[in-house]
Symmetry: C2
Subunit: 131 residues, 2 copies
DNA sequence: AGTCCTTTCAACCATTGAGTTGAAAGGGGA
DNA sequence: TCCCCTTTCAACTCAATGGTTGAAAGGACT
């Protein structure tokens, strides 16, 4: 159900070209020719990719006059984001609980490193910009 | 580069079964038989899915004694999350700028609705639990 | 040793998906 | 009107993927 729409969005981003398209559309709308320009690929192929993105709801294109701009739809990103964040939080809550138990078992002197030490997440590290 | 690793993670989640596996692993580690149980699918098929998840870095499995538990790796989730959030923020910054310009053009009386009205994001709505 | 369960490899089949070529509609603008 | 550019449909090739069956290692337990 929910899973189906979700995995369609994931599938839409499963291709590097489409990933790149989305990244570029985040900078601003673009016509198809503009979008297609960097890729060594037929225009028709780009349209196909576009259709996949559109079917997944990641992108919309007003059917109006000829040069139809392509626009990124943010809701699809939100869909993934809430899903990811939900599961990430579950894992981390569980890990905190686990660490607490371990610490208690050790007479709370120093935490036992069982595998990787459960640090909290980097909280959106400040990467410069590599699209 | 980055894009390649990213789209591999996305590709790993492009399948509903794998999506579900990850969701279930967020609740806790599991052996392969436990993981495979709900699906009408050969055990070998489940192993294949597991390998995809592992190659994408979403999951790790200690090579040790026999019943090897499968563990969710949170860093892969972080990878997607920062990517999504970065692009989402760009779009929203751009939209805010656009709205400002439109409002000014209208003599800042009431904002013009050009398409969908650029509301801010739902900020992780409190869905109960539908995996 | 032998037995049982778990894990993995290999070959095969059917379906999907990315990309191509070719051709056909759709709309401006001279 | 005719021309050009944009958009889309259709059919084809080729590689990748989800699934199967069959068999083989790897450890654990008697």
């Amino acid at each position: 159900m929910t899973t189906d729409a979700l995995s369609r969005v994931f599938a839409a981003l499963a291709d590097p070209t489409r990933c790149d398209m989305v990244a570029r559309l985040a900078e601003g709308d673009a016509t198809v020719s503009q979008l297609a320009e960097p890729y060594r690929m037929t225009l028709q192929a780009v349209y196909k990719h576009l259709r996949v993105l559109e079917d997944a709801g990641l992108v919309s294109r007003p059917r109006g006059p000829q040069p139809r701009p392509v626009r990124l739809e943010v809701q699809a990103l939100d869909l993934m984001d809430t899903w990811i964040e939900r599961h990430r939080d579950r894992v981390e809550r569980r890990n905190r609980r686990l660490d607490a138990v371990l610490a208690e078992m050790n007479g709370d002197e120093h935490e036992q490193d069982h595998g990787d030490g459960h640090r909290s997440r980097p909280e959106a590290a400040g990467h410069p910009d590599d699209s």
